[in-house]
């Protein structure tokens, strides 16, 4: 049985598993998801975009709670989706986990965690990637 969609997922493993973005070698701006060229430096940036591993630490800029989920996510409703500003600058959209919905707050410090994102039914591939959870630092203060 051949399953579609696997190739695209496989190409994106570095960014999905390890938050590998791109940094422009000309102006230093960091992009996630990774870009092949810098929109500010355009031609000057071609061939100068370097891989950069982001720390996975950031802060919630804004969020919403999903009550009607797309296929594959029905079992998790209601769940928060947030725009997270990473330490290095880029903003990414991700699910917030390991946190009660009423505890999710704008400005909350979060860090990335490795989770199942979706699967192609009971027989297809399982796709893993990043979600965000409250920073463990809170726990370490005691």
């Amino acid at each position: 049985m051949t399953i579609g969609g696997v190739a695209r997922f496989w190409r994106e493993i570095p960014q999905r598993y390890n938050l590998i973005g791109k940094q422009c070698g000309s102006c230093g701006r960091i992009y996630f998801p990774p870009r092949e060229s810098c929109p500010y430096c355009r031609r000057k940036s071609i061939g100068k975009m370097r891989d950069i591993k982001l720390s996975g630490k950031g802060e919630i800029v804004t969020y919403t709670v999903i009550h009607v989920a797309p296929h594959n996510f029905e079992g998790q409703v209601p769940y928060p989706i947030a725009i997270v500003q990473l330490e290095e600058g880029p903003r990414i959209t991700a699910q917030i986990v390991d946190c009660k919905i009423e505890d999710v707050k704008i400005g909350m410090k979060v860090e990335y965690t490795f989770r199942r994102i979706q699967e192609d039914g009971y027989t297809g591939a399982i796709y893993y990637g990043y979600k965000f959870k409250p920073c463990q630092q809170k726990q370490n203060h005691q």
Binding site: Q76, V97, D98, T113, F114, R116, Y128, Q136, Q139, N140
Partner: protein, 349 residues
């Protein structure tokens, strides 16, 4: 003498918990009787987006946060579990990629019921000793499944621990290891089946106790030690009672086992069980402490270890990742309905 052993370690436990009374009430049983009988109060439950791969990755990343090892120097990853997410496609490939250790390394998944994780430590120990690898990563993790209404439903839990094995900056030396193996059909899961089956009362004396005690005694013979030589002892924990009884049979005190005894508060994490106990001991261990560990895997076999904590444990950044106690404290209770959804019990094709 060249030291080989644990260089760093990390743990992961999903934060959802279900109480034994909650499960008991669904099946019309008395929760207090079951809690007393099993010595378990509550167990950890993975959410829909957690499995053995995600727990293994989190535990491995925690181990890497505590030390300064370049993941590219990890030459082997062995992951022990009876709940690998794929029947065919190694969990180790996912973990290797997620910690940045690929592509120059050996990877294979292990399966030996609840002792596959300690088998992974033995393999890494041997490969380091042979000089074939600089560091090896051994993981034991599970999201154990139990059929609805089965006795195992009160104990089958989720969690795991990861250990980096090497010979530089060793925090805990593995002085001796020994295994005891027989063909004993006490618990099994047939290929393609979702839930395991077990031999009921057969799981006690001829299985768990025979293997744990023989393995432990033989290791102490090899090491030339006695129970009172150890500061800590960890035995596999299928419930809260068996490890306490096994310790008593061997001459270990409750004080020696309590730091590593987690089953009463998180359930049986299968391949994660004795290894989370070891992680909990390493969270508080001091230089010179002696640790005794015996795992048990149905089928059946035991692996024993004689371990000595070194001065290097004070240089390890233990605070860089949550301790086992912190992982246990960070919890949220769910009811049986949510549990059924998370564990995919409401499954049909």
């Amino acid at each position: 003498m060249e030291q080989i052993g644990i260089v760093s370690y990390g743990a992961d436990i999903p934060r959802y918990r279900i109480k034994v009374e909650e499960i008991a009430s669904v099946w019309g049983k008395n929760g207090e009787d079951i809690k007393r009988g099993l010595g378990i109060n509550e167990k950890s439950v993975p959410s829909l987006d957690q499995d053995t791969a995600t727990i293994s990755v989190e535990a491995a990343r925690a181990a890497l946060k505590r030390c300064n090892i370049d993941p590219k120097n990890i030459g082997a990853i062995y992951i022990g579990s009876e709940s690998h997410p794929y029947a065919v496609k190694p969990t180790g490939t996912i973990v290797g990629e997620a910690i940045g250790a690929t592509p120059n390394l050996m990877v294979a998944d292990y399966e030996f019921a609840c002792k596959a994780g300690t088998a992974a430590i033995q393999t890494c120990n041997g490969l380091v000793k042979a000089g074939m690898i600089e560091y090896g990563l051994a993981i034991g993790a599970d999201t154990a499944q139990a059929a609805p209404g089965d006795a195992l439903e009160y104990s089958a839990a989720a969690g795991g621990a990861a250990f980096i094995i090497g010979k530089k900056d060793v925090i805990a030396t593995i002085n001796h290891t020994y295994s005891y193996t027989t063909d004993t059909p006490d618990f099994w899961r047939r290929e393609g089946r979702k839930y395991p089956a077990h031999g009921g009362r057969f799981t006690g004396a001829p299985a768990y106790f025979k293997h744990i005690t023989n393995c432990s005694k033989n290791l102490m013979k090899i090491a030339g030690t006695k129970p009172e030589d150890y500061n800590y002892a960890i035995f596999h924990q299928p419930n809260g009672k068996f490890p306490v009884t096994a310790a008593k049979m061997l001459g270990f005190s409750y004080d020696q086992i309590k730091q590593g005894l987690l089953c009463p508060i998180i359930g049986n994490t299968y391949s994660g069980s004795s290894l989370l106990g070891l992680a909990s001991v390493l969270d508080v261990a001091k230089p010179g402490d002696k640790i005794f560990l015996t795992s048990y895997g149905s089928g059946a076999g035991s692996d024993s270890f004689d371990i000595t904590v070194t001065d290097k444990i004070n240089d390890l950044s233990r605070k860089n990742a949550p301790s086992v106690a912190q992982l246990i404290e960070n919890k949220e209770y769910i009811n049986y309905g949510t549990y059924a959804k998370f564990r995919d019990i409401l499954y049909w094709e």
